[in-house]
Structures are given as structure tokens and as C-alpha cells.
């Protein structure tokens, strides 16, 4: 491989995550400064089509490892293969999307390659031939500029921080097939089963997020079923409240988020938590319903382009970050907003 910039294409069952193509876009920008083209790495089984997609998005070389041992991502065969390829061809930079797989793979390959990882980067610049990366720390309360003095530099890129290139189906390039480095009996981890999530929009990829906080449980007009105890009644009320949040999200094609208070109270699973100990998100629009805005929550969503806050308390800190605010009862405002936006969006 002649290119010095490589991009790892993260996928789930053959479908690339959007952040993989954003990473190809970031790779092309780096290639402008550093010379050469972009080589995409596609590991899996039956994933040749992803290689073609990588060409469409702008890679001019693809390294394809198609092998039954690579069907599901597993760190040992993937990191072993990546380290072998990078050891042989000595690229300068390997980019990854900051997904759970990309993060783990970059870290483990870095140990083999005696290099370092710049993690969850939101901006890249080239100064005198050296890459300087910006990454949020303390969940975005601060930013650090970091660099790596060893090669290859492994860099994971935060989803939605880099623009996705326009695919062009007429583009193609050089595809090289490579072999897996471990046989099945050399791999300690076996994937037994998969329980897919319930199909909602993923928080980290979402362009729009509607979130609920403790306030979702405060609808006085609801009468919970009589056989529930006090905690059960509170959770029942909250789940009714989250239905309103979910309906607004559905009209907007949005993901559903939650504050830590709502998660800790058992209203909604942890997978929905936004904040310092949940997911850090940066959508175009973030609608906070009944969230007062603890510092840990604000840290996790403050880079949202536009924030809308609905809260009963006019002094809630969330209003300081909001472009639009409504002081009122979310149980009245949210359904009305769902209807109004639904009509304007033709849904």
C-alpha cells in the first residue's frame, strides 16, 4: 500500500456506521496536506460491497480481509490483523470512528505498534507536517490539543464532528485482499448471540435529540393503576411522560435521551443517558423536556447547535444554554409541540 493515510471502516453486519465515512472525509482532508490518497480497511465476512462503498466515498485503495473468523468484530483477530498490516506497510496515520469497536481496536493495535492513540477527536490541523488534534476532556468542560510523536498515529474521530463526503458511484480504486492472522482456535473470545436494540435512532449519530428528565414523572392529571406501590406509581407516571417525549422524537426522526436523574430513578434505560457519565452528544437540535440542567448533563450536550428547553422552573440552568425556552408544564407543551411541528413537517 502506497498511501500513508489509512481509515478503518467500522460496520455492523456489513452496514457501515456513518462516522466511518466521516473518517474517510477527514482522511481526504489530511491527504490534501500530507500528500497521497486514502486507504480504507475493511474487515469482516461477505463485506466486499463495503470496499466498493469506500471507493465511492473517496478512498483510492482498499484493503479487504474477508474471512469467517472476522464475521463479528472481536478485538484479538482484528487488532492482530491491523497491527500486522500497519507493521508491514508503515502508514503515518490510521483514522477510526470513535465507536466502541473503533476505540478498542485503536487502543489494542497501538500497544502492538508501540504508538499512541488520540481519542475522540473533534478537529484536526496540520502544522509543519505534524498533526495536532483537538479533543474534549472532562466531557467537554475543557479541550486539549494533543499530538503523537510515534508512527503510525492512531486517531479516533468523534461522530458528527467531521463532514461526510458525497459518495460518487463512478469512482473506483485498487482493491487488495489480505489474509486474517489468527485461526479460530487461536481466538479466546466467542460470540454466542446478539439481541438487537429496539431500532430507535442512535444517540451519537442523531441529528435531533429529544430528552426527558425528572420532570416527566410530574403529571398531576394521571391516575396510576391502583395496584402499584409508590415507586411503581412514580415510574408508571414517568413512562407515560416519556411516551410524550418519544412521540415528539418520532415526528422529528430524533433519538430519545434522558438525564441521569431520570435513569437513576429507573424511568428509562442507561443507554439513553446523556451527560458526563452517559453519552456525550452534539446534535443539530436538542430539545430538553423537564431537565433542569445539572453541570454533568450540560457537559454532555453543550455542543448541540440549537437547544430548546421546556421546564416549569424559570431559574433552571438549562435555559442559559437554550436558544428558545418555555416556562411551562411539559405534559401540555410537548404534545402541542408534537402536533404543531408534525403539521409543519407534513407528518
Amino acid at each position: 500500500m502506497t498511501n500513508k493515510i489509512w481509515v478503518y471502516i467500522d460496520h455492523f453486519k456489513g452496514a457501515a456506521l456513518p462516522a466511518s465515512w466521516e473518517a474517510v472525509g477527514a482522511g481526504l482532508t489530511l491527504a490534501n496536506d500530507l500528500g497521497g490518497g486514502v486507504t480504507a480497511l475493511v474487515f469482516g465476512e461477505g463485506v466486499a460491497d463495503l470496499g466498493q462503498q469506500a471507493f465511492h466515498y473517496g478512498a483510492d485503495e482498499v484493503m479487504l480481509a474477508d474471512d469467517p473468523t472476522l464475521l463479528d468484530y472481536r478485538s484479538e483477530p482484528y487488532a492482530g490483523l491491523l497491527a500486522k498490516l500497519a507493521g508491514d506497510s508503515a502508514p503515518d496515520v490510521i483514522l477510526f470512528p470513535t465507536t466502541s469497536r473503533g476505540r478498542e481496536l485503536a487502543g489494542m493495535a497501538a500497544v502492538d505498534l508501540k504508538s499512541g492513540v488520540l481519542v475522540d477527536v473533534t478537529a484536526l490541523e496540520v502544522e509543519g507536517g505534524a498533526i495536532l488534534a483537538t479533543r474534549p476532556i472532562y466531557a467537554g468542560k475543557l479541550f486539549a490539543k494533543v499530538g503523537c510523536s510515534a508512527k503510525p498515529e492512531l486517531i479516533t474521530l468523534r461522530g458528527r464532528a467531521f463532514a461526510k463526503p458525497e459518495p460518487d458511484e463512478t469512482r473506483s480504486g485498487t482493491l487488495t485482499e489480505v489474509e486474517a492472522v489468527l485461526s479460530e482456535d487461536e481466538i479466546a473470545v466467542k460470540v454466542l448471540d446478539y439481541v438487537q436494540a429496539d431500532g430507535g435512532v442512535s444517540l451519537t449519530d442523531a441529528a435531533v435529540i429529544v430528552s426527558g428528565g425528572r420532570g416527566v414523572s410530574n403529571n398531576p392529571n394521571l391516575e396510576p393503576p391502583g395496584d402499584l406501590d409508590e415507586d411503581g406509581q412514580e415510574i408508571w407516571r414517568a413512562q407515560e411522560g416519556f411516551k410524550l417525549v418519544g412521540e415528539l422524537a418520532k415526528v422529528l426522526g430524533a433519538a430519545v435521551g434522558a438525564s441521569r436523574a431520570a435513569v437513576d430513578a429507573g424511568y428509562i434505560p442507561y443507554a439513553n443517558q446523556v451527560g458526563q457519565t452517559g453519552k456525550v452528544v452534539g446534535p443539530d437540535v436538542y430539545i430538553a423536556c423537564g431537565i433542569s440542567g445539572a453541570i454533568q448533563h450540560l457537559a454532555g450536550m453543550r455542543t448541540s447547535k440549537m437547544i430548546v428547553a421546556i421546564n416549569k422552573d424559570p431559574d433552571a440552568p438549562i435555559f442559559k444554554l437554550a436558544r428558545f425556552g418555555v416556562v411551562g408544564d411539559l405534559h401540555e407543551i410537548v404534545p402541542a409541540l408534537t402536533a404543531a411541528l408534525g403539521e409543519k413537517l407534513g407528518k
Binding site: 500497544v111 492513540v117 472532562y138 479541550f143 499530538g147 510523536s149 473470545v189 457519565t277 428558545f324 402541542a336
Partner: protein, 256 residues
């Protein structure tokens, strides 16, 4: 079975974190165990109790950075050790992984728990990297442990797409996420025991390890750019009117 759990001391998540003279400052906010590590300690204690084993809690930092270790001891860990050495002051993730791997060997652990990541530097590198240095498999983002015996562990992992069930041979490194379940509170007896505990400090010489020089360099720190946000409060006679005005305003921003 000997179990180890690795923890980090971090500023409380409620801290206002700022840059002061080029350094991170969290004012007088308390230093605590990394919140994600509490789930790892809980998992370690439960599994040690199920299997009849002991738990060694390991941390790395300056010689006085023992808050996280004391919290884990108070929760019920049997032993603690602090890796501390001037040579590790500027350690990057990979250097830290080498030091932790050596400490895990010294503690003779066969199963190691980590939290998902630390809330200060937010890299999440150490579970995988420490496993790689040890030559052990990494089983990360574990939401539930279905089965554990001296030879294997079977878990549910929380990934972007849902729950993945995997099994792995031991020894292994496991990282735990919040779905695992609420960590226990330190008991009164535990707190007294932790306060009296003499925590051994392990230098790189004690560990017989030479951590690689850091290759990840921090060039500069900054506060996020102040966003100039003009908040417009929407009012109206009733919810319908407010919603109508708000919907128009949102549409006018052309972000949907």
C-alpha cells in the same frame, strides 16, 4: 480466584473544571473514585464472593492519591496497592497499561475489572490496552455476567447496536458499564478499616517494569469557546399557542 480491579482518582463530576496557568484546575472540588469504576468494584466484589476469592484494588498516581483506593477498600476490597513513580508522571495510556499489567501480575490476578473509562481524560483505552500488554483477551462494556468459573466467563456486552453475548477464556480483562447494577455504599466498618489501611506503594522497580516513554503529548488546554446565546423565552395564552410560536421559530432556524 484472585481478582483485581483498577480504579482512578478523579475530580467530582459536579466540579467546575477550568484552565489555570495552563493546567487543569477543579478548585476545591473533592477528589473521588471515578464513578464508572464503582461499577467495576461492585462486579469484582460480587464475583469474589460467589467464587470464594479475594479482590485487590489497584490505582496509579501521585503518592497521596489514595481516595479511590480507600473508597474501594471501604466497599469491601481485601487489599489495595498504589502504583507511583516519578518515571510515570507523564505516562500516556500505553505507558500506564504497562505499569498496570505488571501490577496485575504482581497481585497474581486471573480476572481484572475496569470501569468503562475515566471521567477526566475520557479515553477508555486502558481496559483493552492493559489486556493487550498482558496478552489476555479484553471483554469490554459488560452489562451483565451470566456465568463465571475458573476457566471461562460469559457476559452480555452493551454495544451501540444492542446486547452481544460472548464468552471468553480466562485469564481476561473485563470492563463494566453502568447497566451492571448499583454499586454498594461503603459500610461504617469498611470506612474505619479503609482509614487505617496502610496502602503499599509500588514503584516501577518494585514491579520490574520499564514503562515505555509517552508518545502522546499534550500541547495546550483551553476552555470551550463561550457561545453567545441569546435565549428567547416563548410565551402565550395556552400550550397550543406557545407550541405554535415555538414550532415556527424552530422551523425558521432551518435546522430540522
Amino acid at each position: 480466584m484472585k481478582i483485581a480491579v483498577c480504579v482512578k482518582q478523579v475530580p467530582d463530576t459536579a466540579a467546575q473544571v477550568v484552565v489555570e496557568n495552563g493546567q487543569v484546575s477543579w478548585g476545591d472540588a473533592p477528589l473521588v473514585i471515578n464513578p464508572w469504576d464503582e461499577y467495576a468494584v461492585e462486579a469484582a466484589l460480587q464475583k469474589a464472593s460467589d467464587l470464594g476469592g479475594s479482590v485487590t484494588v489497584i490505582s496509579m498516581g501521585a503518592e497521596n492519591e489514595t481516595e479511590a483506593l480507600k473508597h474501594a477498600l471501604a466497599m469491601g476490597c481485601n487489599e489495595a496497592a498504589l502504583i507511583s513513580d516519578p518515571a510515570l508522571e507523564d505516562a500516556d495510556n500505553a505507558a500506564a497499561a504497562h505499569a498496570l499489567a505488571a501490577a496485575i501480575k504482581k497481585a497474581e490476578a486471573e480476572l481484572v475489572f475496569f470501569g468503562k473509562q475515566a471521567v477526566d481524560t475520557d479515553t477508555g483505552m486502558l481496559p483493552g490496552q492493559t489486556a493487550r500488554v498482558l496478552g489476555w483477551p479484553a471483554v469490554t462494556l459488560v452489562a451483565a455476567i451470566q456465568e463465571l468459573n475458573p476457566d471461562m466467563i460469559k457476559v452480555e456486552r452493551a454495544t451501540e447496536e444492542g446486547r452481544q453475548v460472548v464468552e471468553s477464556k480466562l485469564p481476561a480483562v473485563v470492563s463494566i458499564v453502568k447497566d451492571y447494577g448499583e454499586p454498594r455504599y461503603p459500610s461504617f466498618m469498611g470506612i474505619r478499616k479503609a482509614a487505617r489501611a496502610e496502602i503499599p506503594v509500588w514503584s516501577t522497580a518494585d514491579l520490574g517494569v520499564e514503562a515505555p516513554a509517552a508518545v502522546v503529548k499534550w500541547a495546550a488546554l483551553s476552555s470551550p469557546p463561550k457561545k453567545d446565546i441569546e435565549t428567547e423565552m416563548i410565551e402565550g395564552a395556552d400550550a397550543g399557542e406557545i407550541a405554535e410560536v415555538l414550532a415556527d421559530k424552530i422551523m425558521a432556524e432551518k435546522v430540522l
